[in-house]
Amino acid sequence: MKSLKAFLACGTLLAFANVAQAAQCEVTHWWTSGGEAAAVAEFAKAFESKTNHKWLDGAIAGGGGTARPVFISRITGGDPMCATQFNHGRQAEELVEAGLMRDFTELAAKENWAEIVRPRSLLDGCTVDGKVYCVPINIHSWQWLWLSHKAFEDAGVPVPKTWDEFVAAAPALEKAGKIPLAMGGQPWQTSGAFNVLIPAIAGKDIYLKVYQDKDAEVAAGPEMAKVFQAADAARKMAAKSNVQDWNQATNLVITGQAGGQIMGDWAQGEFQVAGQVAGKDYSCLPGLGVNELISVGGDAFYFPVSKDPEVTAAQDALASVMLAPDTQVNFNLKKGSVPVRGDVDLNAANDCMKKGLEILAKGNTVPDPPRLNTEDTNTQLNDLFVEFFKTPSMTPEEAQKRYAEIIASAD
């Protein structure tokens, strides 16, 4: 009983301690893989060294699908954090409309975000009715095929340069006991891979017609049928892939147990943590080596409205730190993504990142599905594709029919 009292007393003390340091800024995010954690540590370091506030890390494991519900219920439940990650676009749309997010227009004007953030469309993703509500921190693109040199060496075939070569090499890989295509079992990974196949196989216009214009006829049309055939090939190659998390799948590629993986550029962080060198240990093919085009999406930080002036001050400070040139470089090098500022020095970038920068400079970009679809539509797509990839008996035609229905009902 005594120890219990002592313990309860401790708890109270702790609670007071929390009140005393109100400048703590709790930042919630879903970055828990090795590369991601290393990247977010850069933010925390910069924030704590440049300001007198403290970074309180609120990582939630299991990806955005697990973490976003928690963020949202906390914000709507009246217990907002200091800052939180979302992907830009429509994920936080309603929270902004309901006035739960802080307006950063003033700071954005003062620091001239409109000039420094590039491409402009990123800031547009943060803008609602002319007001800026979030800080874009990186550019992520999905359109990458990561290939393990070791796997292809073991199978005795050259490392492919395009998707078609990769498909052709699959039998050899399988013969050598490799999984041709590593694919995690989480729903977002399968639909992500499919969305990569669309511009690579059917081209940019079709992609935009389906996702931007929500044209159900195109979605049911012959061009998309080709994409579904490619997805059919992909799922056969991924049939033996028994992992859940994306980075477990990446790990199969790193260790040479799998030939390749379709995954966004964040996978790069994992190769880096494992000490692998681009071009020597692994290759990356943007746009699957077919259609060099990347989608522009990424992570952004939103700052819920707070009554505490100290938290508000911490929010302002954090927003500036996140966009500061050196933080941008350090963070993005670890994360494997591209900085949102065009004016920073990226000599330290590796081969893959440079490829990405080139494509970005050429303007070969499309918006990311999360920016075009509501989460409702994305979830429906996730469910459809995870079912398609894991159910061999489901025909591509059947999947396409349901796909077109989802597009038709999307808003």
Binding site: P69, N242, Q244, T379, V386
Partner: protein, 300 residues
């Protein structure tokens, strides 16, 4: 149950202290349970997305619900899991209880072993069984190492049988409870009945089947209600063991609700699905609760 305060006339201030003491209960019953459910049902007729809004769309959410493959798979899984776990846990639980009731040695040890999983959470249960059923290290590999090379038992990665993989874990966790309830029921049966049956020369299995089980009817009903309500809630176990996969093969309604509300940011759809769950529970529980607690208590 006695009817102590019942017979006399009631006034507002009679039993005032009792009424004050019951405020938390009344609050919970009316505000949380009745209020909360009504709220959910009302909003299931709206097109609320991320935030609840009163924009009524009639039965749209229900139409979409019943045309969504994931929901249909969830219902099918729940039916399979529900029926099998009901049947198996009652049968296994009863047999184990009957075995333990045979004046055996080490009764406490056996009971302890069978019941301990019940102390563990579903998260823990799911993780352990995920590991046990891991195709590369678990049961499948062990049997193969024993020489049966073609042995295949890989429920967590096989769509057709994944729900049975979850069932195995669920039974492991839950049969102990059923056994315990059954044992309590068996112990409540008068020794004289056994004596009489023995004198009449009725074989033991017949005594169990035709005399004891009918006498244990209340225990069975309670057990069924408890298991059934647990089944409808099935969530943590699936999340920890398979996350609904492979594909959508092990989705369950409770997960559909959570996913639609928070993941898909489509509250209306989630509310519609939870209303359907509520309906199921109501069909099972309300008649039972009415009989047991409805009017003034009838029996002791």
């Amino acid at each position: 149950m006695a009817t102590k305060a019942a017979g006399r006339p009631n006034q507002l201030f009679r039993n005032l202290n009792a009424k004050i003491a019951s405020i938390p209960m009344i609050f919970t019953a009316l505000v949380v349970f009745v209020g909360g459910t009504t709220w959910t049902i009302v909003y299931s007729f709206t097109n609320s997305k991320l935030l609840p809004r009163l924009r009524f769309v009639g039965l749209d959410q229900y139409e979409r619900l019943w045309s969504t493959p994931k929901w249909l798979v969830s219902i099918e899984n729940l039916l399979i899991y529900g029926i099998l776990s009901l049947v198996f846990s009652v049968i296994i639980g009863f047999i184990l209880a009957a075995l333990l009731d045979q004046k055996i040695r080490f009764e406490n040890t056996f009971r302890t072993i069978i019941l301990y999983p019940f102390a563990l959470s579903f998260i823990v249960t799911g993780l352990v069984w995920q590991w046990m059923l891991n195709p590369d290290f678990g049961v499948q590999q062990v049997v193969r190492n024993l020489g049966w090379e073609s042995f295949t038992f890989n429920p967590l990665y096989d769509q057709r049988i994944v729900i049975y993989g979850i069932l195995i874990a669920g039974l492991w966790q839950g049969t102990g409870l059923v056994m315990c309830l059954m044992l309590a029921g068996l112990r409540g049966i008068d020794e004289d009945i056994w004596k009489a049956a023995r004198i009449d020369g009725i074989p033991m299995w017949k005594t169990y089947l035709f005399i004891v089980i009918p006498m244990m009817r209340p225990v069975f009903i309670t057990t069924l209600v408890i298991i059934a309500s647990g089944i409808v809630r099935l969530y943590d176990l699936v999340v920890a063991q398979t996350s609904g996969g492979p594909g959508i093969a092990s989705e369950v309604p409770a997960k559909y609700v959570y996913d639609s509300m928070f993941l898909a940011q489509n509250l209306g759809q989630g509310f519609a699905a939870s209303t359907m769950m509520l309906l199921t529970v109501a069909i099972v529980v309300v008649p039972w609760a009415y009989l047991e607690f409805g009017g003034r208590a009838k029996r002791g």
